[in-house]
Each structure stands twice: as structure tokens, then as C-alpha cells.
Amino acid sequence: MLLERDGLLAGLEHLVDVAGDGAGALAMISGEAGSGKTSLMNELARRIEPRGRVLIGGCDPLTTPRPLSPLMDIAADPDAHFTGHDLVESDPFSLFADVLDDLKGTIRPTLLVIEDMHWADEATLDFLRYIGRRVADTKAVVACTYREDELGTDHPLRTVLGDLATRQSTVRFSVDPLTVEAVGYLASESRHDPADLHRLTGGNAFYVTEILATGEHLPGSVSDAVMARVRRLTPPAQRVVEGVSVAPRDLAVDHALALSGADLSDIDEATLSGVVVARGARLAFRHELARSAVEDSLPMGRRLSLHREMIDLLRADEDLDLARLAHHAGRAGDGSLVVEYAPEAARQASLRGAHREAAEFFELALIEADRVIPSELAQLRLDLAVELGILDRQEQALQQLLLAAEFYRESSDHVMLASLLRRLSSVLWRNLDLVGARRAIDEAIELLQDAGDDEALALAHEESAFNWMLARRHASAREDLARCRDLAERTGADHVLLLHDYMAATVETVLGDAERGVAGLKRVESQFRERGDDRLAASALGMLGSGGGEVRRYDPALDALRTAIEEGLRTDADFMVAYNRSWMARIAFEQGRWEEATRIAELVAEERYGRAAIAPVTALGALGRVRVRRGDPGAQEALEEALRIGEGCEMQHLWSPYCGLAELAWLEGRSGEIPKILDWVWGQALAADSRWARGEVGFWMWKAGAINEPPDAAAEPFALHMNGRWKEAADAWHDIDCPYEEALALAEGDEEAMLEAITIFDGLGARPAARIVRSRLRAMGVAHIPQGPRLETRANPAGLTNRQVEVLGLMAEGLSNGEIADRLYISKKTTEHHVSAVLAKLGASTRAKAIARAESLHMTKDGGDGLRQ
């Protein structure tokens, strides 16, 4: 199977079919080495063979190529009706004429492939020019592949391409690198991260498949392929390439010249060979893999000396490039320079939002810990811990903070120690040490009582309010906020006041007036942006997403989550990405978008190891609850795993999975077990101030008959339901798009409402709940209960997906790809994928043929019901 080549294949097949009618073409197919041109030609040949003739020849990378070697190869094929035996003496043009006669006289269409045209000899180029001018009158497609990256500006093939470019019968194709999605598909059964693999390989099909096949970071086959190209260069050009290989990302041309002692023509040789590429005035490898292959091939002494020379060159620059200096200092093993440059490089990276790079530089500096004075070392550990927290490496973050805490405790610098304890509190919390987290922040406040630093004390109270908010304790959170506000106003420090407003809005959202809280968080977010603090702005968005999600203010929550995830992916904020995604899954579950919920939940659950528990707990909770409602296997297991991972979490992260277990018991007729299942979380919910936790946990207690009326301060829709006001409850659920809960409420109503509930449950695929309502209706003696959902599946014969059937229908209406894209609200590229998939599945080379075939299979509107599933 070839990924992302459907469009190319369909196009080329189409050319061959048209050639069969006497309108031949020259197809020039370019792509970088390893992009998969040969695989493409093989697949094309496989598809053409049943209906046409395939002739294949190729050029060789020889210093002195055999003249006309591709034609000689082809002449040896029994299907070819020309011979090359007396070629050496004869005029090559008489051979060309023989080939032309053959391609004109053939009965079946012919695909004539010449591979690797960039290595062609003069005579083969003459043939290309000759046939390119005459191919339109043949029944053949002459398909030539070549490496775009090896075609220097003065390559003779360029001239021929220029001659033929304007002819109508010349068609150009480009075999592009694979997208991240395709790489992800290939890597789906491996442990590689698609984005990493894509970055490493630049989407080069050969590199991707070699890494996947060998499981090695740098497979021997790849380094052999790279080094073979490097060794064809002259020694000065090789030295240029070696210089580029020791630089991270890219190297300034001036530095390349200084390192290699080469001149500009050697640089041209290196770039024209395609080994390195020029980007502005900098040189870079096309692929990270090729770079490491060359760097690894360098003997140690040579490598060290290149790094040292780079340090000298960079230090001579006016604006010091700290990141590069730190990198080369580390590679050159120069500890004192590492200590000089790495910490500052890390701080710069952090400000840019490159948190992975920042952590790497801090870690690099810590290797030289014995060269750093203790107070700086403690600061380094603190800074590193912040980065690790962002990267969701919570255990390592905790270790660094504990090491730093030792220093501050001995130094009796109370303000610094308190500041560290503030951070420690949230990191302990993320590591599920809730008691330790509370103790750390209490200690910080205690330490600051007499320290005379109001700002530090204000910040400590803010952190304390945060901690109470996490535990959903309203009164305590408000007390701390009031203290924080007094102190902040006394110091007049704007940023502390803003932090106060941030936390006050958060507390308001989850524990008070949600509307006001949400508006407050939005305001705070834009104030953070105005101050240029994108990280706090992103935190505020996350708070809006999870807090707003919990209190079911879904629209602003979803908006915030989408933006925060995008931003998090850009800035390596893995913790925020995972947690925000888990809330996307939770909301999608609650709103009945179960397919979306499970997809996102899987994404989070797959990456749960060594990370903060709250994201996978939330995600697995959503996944398990979808299974409960669908009646699918593995529901209990997923929920129990969520609770196992979440052991020690706050109630706020656990009540939903617990409710899932209660609901499962209800659906399976084990309602008597519910009070026992909910025992712990019910007590927690009553002790805390979350209206939605009280509402939902209370609801399942009520369903089990353990309570007769809603608990105090339960969220409105649940309370209405428990008070028997099913109609108002259903309306309330309807208003916030919670169809399953709406149907649960309707199911408590009259016959008509119950039938409506069945329709909703059926639409969701909520089989177990629908079955319960159906059997109650039967017990009531209702005669006409609609049957369960039935797909009209005389499954469409070609195995098209619903979307593809839809696209096919629009194709049949004569819409173009652009018009289909507009109609279906999808991108043009996605539309193209659908169209090629439709062509492929229907075995059709053109739209017209696809539509004709669909009609013969009764798949179009006029032909049958296949389109109206």
C-alpha cells in the first residue's frame, strides 16, 4: 500500500488510459532521494499491467554511464518491438525512430518508465528530447523519474526539461514528503512519536520505513545511503558538509567557510549535490537523520576540534548566540563554558516558549553542578523544576525542588524558601501528595509572617487559595483571597493584584457564580496577554476549560480548550495539552459526542506514564463512561483503572468515574450496590462545595433509593430531576446540550416523553438505557414501541465510507473538488483524498468512470438507496 499517493496514481493512470486512445504523454516525476518514486512506479506498473504493456529501464550512478542504458534494458524485454543489438555502430536516431514506431503501433496502451533520469548520459537525454516532442501521437506514456534535489542549476536535464516544459503533452508530477498523518499511520504499531519521526526524517519515505523496520535511531542502511552521497564529493566540499553536521539546525555560510577552509564553489558543490541545502545565508541538512549520520562518521578528535572552532567563531560575533555556544560547549566537553552559557540559553529558550530546549540546557548546566556556587545551583534546580512541570515530568520536577529546598533551609533565606515552597506545593499536588501540598503552603505562609515581605506573603495566600479551590473548599479559598487582596493593595504591585483576580475568577467559576467567574477568567486572560505573559494567559484558558467544563459552561470552555491545546502544542506545554485534552474528552462525553470523546481519551491515556495523574484519570473516566452508556465491554475495567491511577486525587477528579460505576450498576440491574460504590465520594461531595459533584453523585444515590430528595446546593438540572420535575429537568439539559441526561429525565415522564427518550437514546447508541425504557413501556402495555435503530445496510457494494458515499453523490451532481469542499465544510485537500479514495475503491481512473460504475452498482441517487443511509 502506498500512502498519500492516490492522487498521483490516479493522475498517472488517467494519462495511460487517455494514451490508449492515441493521445500519449511525457510524465516527469520529481522527488527527493528516498521519497518513494520507485515504489510509485512499481505500483503504477502493477495497476497498468492488466490492461496495458509496461516497459521499465533505468539510469545508473556510474562515473561513465553506459550510453542509452535504459533503452538497452528495455530492448531486452520480449514485449519491446525494437532491438538495440547493433546500437554501438548505428546512429542512435534510427533506434529512437524504432522506439517511436513501436509506441505508435502498439495495440494496448504502453507505460514506458525511465528511472533516475538525473543520472542519464548524453544520448539518453537526446532520446528524452526526441520522444518528448513526438509522444503526443503515440499510445504511450513515457514516465521519467528524477531527483529534484540532485539537479544543480547547470544540470543538462534542466535544459531538456526547459525545452519540453511548454508542450501540452508534458505533465509534471512531484512526489512530496509524507505528512505527519501518514508517518503516524506507518508508525501506528511502533513506539515512535509521529511528530518526532516526521521531524527527524522530513517525511522521507525511505528514512521512515528504514527506522520502523530496524527499530534503530539511525539505521545502517540510512547512514550508508547518506555517506555514499557524501563520498562522491571532492574533499573540500566534504569538509563543508562535515562542518554543517556539527551545527544544530543550520550553519552560517561564513562559519562553514571558516571551518572547512573551502571556498564558495565548494559550497555550491555541496548544495548542488543535494546533501545540504542553502536557506538564505545558512546551510542545513535536509534531514536530521542525514546530519547525525555524517556527524557520527567523524572521528572523535575531528569532531571535538570542529566544536572548539565553532566556539571561537561564535565568541567573535557581536551578538552572542548563547544557545549555540552552550550546545558546542557541551559537545566539546568544556565544563566552564557550559556553566557560562547554558543557564542563560535555557532562560532565553523558556521565554520563547521552547520549554523542552530550556529543560535540556538546564540539565546540561547541572551536569557541571560542581562548578556552580550553591545559591546559583539551587536557583538552577528551581528553574529546571518549573520547566519539567510544564513538560509534565512531575516526578523529576519534585526531585529538583526537594534538592533546592535543602539548600534554602540551610541558608535560612525565608523569602526564597517560601517562594520555593509555593512551587513545591503545586508540584506535590500533581504528584498526588495532597497532604504534603497543604503542609508546604501552610509552612510558606508561616515563614513569611514576620519576614516583612508583603508581596511574597500575598503570593503565598494566592497559592493557598488555589490549593483550597482544588479541594473545592469555598470559604477557606475566599479567606486566603481576601488576605491576598489586602496585601497586594498595600504593596500596589499590579502583577500580584492580577494574580489575585485570576484566582478569584477561578474560585467564582467552580464554586460561586459561574457566569461571573467565566467572564472574569476571560478578562484576566486578555490582561495576561497585554502584559506579554502568554504562559499565565494559557493557564487562565486551561482554568476556563476545566473549571468551565465542570460547571457545564460548555461553549466558553470548549473555545478555551481548543486555543490552549494549540498553544500548548506549540510551546511544549505537555501537561496543559494532556489535561486540556482530557477535558475535551469529558465534555464530548457529557454532550453525547462519544466517538470524539473516545478518540481524545485514547490519545491522553496512551501517554500517561510518568505524568501527572489528573489528565489520564479524567480521560479514562470519559472513555469508561462512554462504554457504560453504549453497553460495551471493558467499561468497568476502564473506570477502575481511572480510579486506581487517581488514588489520592481530589474528589473533583474522581466523582465522574465513580458515577460511571454507579450508572453501570443501575443499567445492569444492580442498583442495590450503588450506595456502597459511592460511599466515599458521596461523603467527599457533601463535605465540599461543588454543586455539580453534589448534583451528579446525589442523583445516582437518589436513583438507588438511598436518598429521597436532592442534597443542598445541588446543580439545578439534577435537583429538578430528583424533585420529580422531569419536564423542566429535560429542558434544562436540552439547553446545555446534554442529550443523555435529557433522555434520562424524559424517561421519568409520560408515555410520549418516554418515546422521545427512546428516540434520543437510540440516536446516541445508548442501548442499555433504551432497553430499560422499552421494557417499562411494554410493562405499561404500550402497543407500538419503535424498533431499535437499523442502518439501511445493504452495505454499499464498493465498501465506501458514509463520507465517501456523500462525496460520490456530489461528484455525480457534477460538483468540482472545490465546490464539494465548500458544501461539506472540509478542506480541498481532504476532498481530494476522498475523491481519490472513491476512484480507487470503484477501480475507476476518471470521475466519469467512477460515476458510471456507481450507477451500475445502484449507488447513486437515481440508482437506489445506497446514498441515503
Partner: protein, 94 residues
Amino acid sequence: MPRYVVERTFDGGLEVPTDPNGFDTMMGVVGNNAKEQVTWVQSFVSADKTKTYCIYDGPSPEAIRRAAELNSLPVDVISEVRVLDPYFYVGASS
């Protein structure tokens, strides 16, 4: 990988033509399953062809549902199952 039995209902009866189109349909199903890492082992079809009981290997019930969606096949109930056959204990008893 877990094994599942997937029950499906075909109101009009399941028809798979015994010509090249039938083969294409089957291969289409196999190809779509592969996208979700799902393997169709075999199916049992009721005498009136309205119900099928399909044995599948797959990573999760969600993957089974997605593959069904790709193939436009209905899903009634998914159950996780283990294989047991009459000769399971042969050897253990002798």
C-alpha cells in the same frame, strides 16, 4: 489483543454477491478494518440472513465500532469473549 463477538442485524437480509463485486466488498472490509487494527476472523450468519455473529480481534470496542462505521455495518452488541472448545481439557484429564 482481545477477541470480540459483534452481533449485527440486517433487516433486508445480508447479501454478498458471489462475483468479483462480492470479492471487492470483502477486501474493502478487510482494508478498512486494518485502518483500526481490527481483524475479522469469521462470521456466522443466521438462516434467514438477518443476523450475523462476527468474531473479531481488535484493540478495543471503540476500534470495532470505528471499523464498522468505515464499512457502514450495523453494530448491536459487542461482547468480549474467550475461546473454549470441546477438546480444551484433552491432555489435562489423561
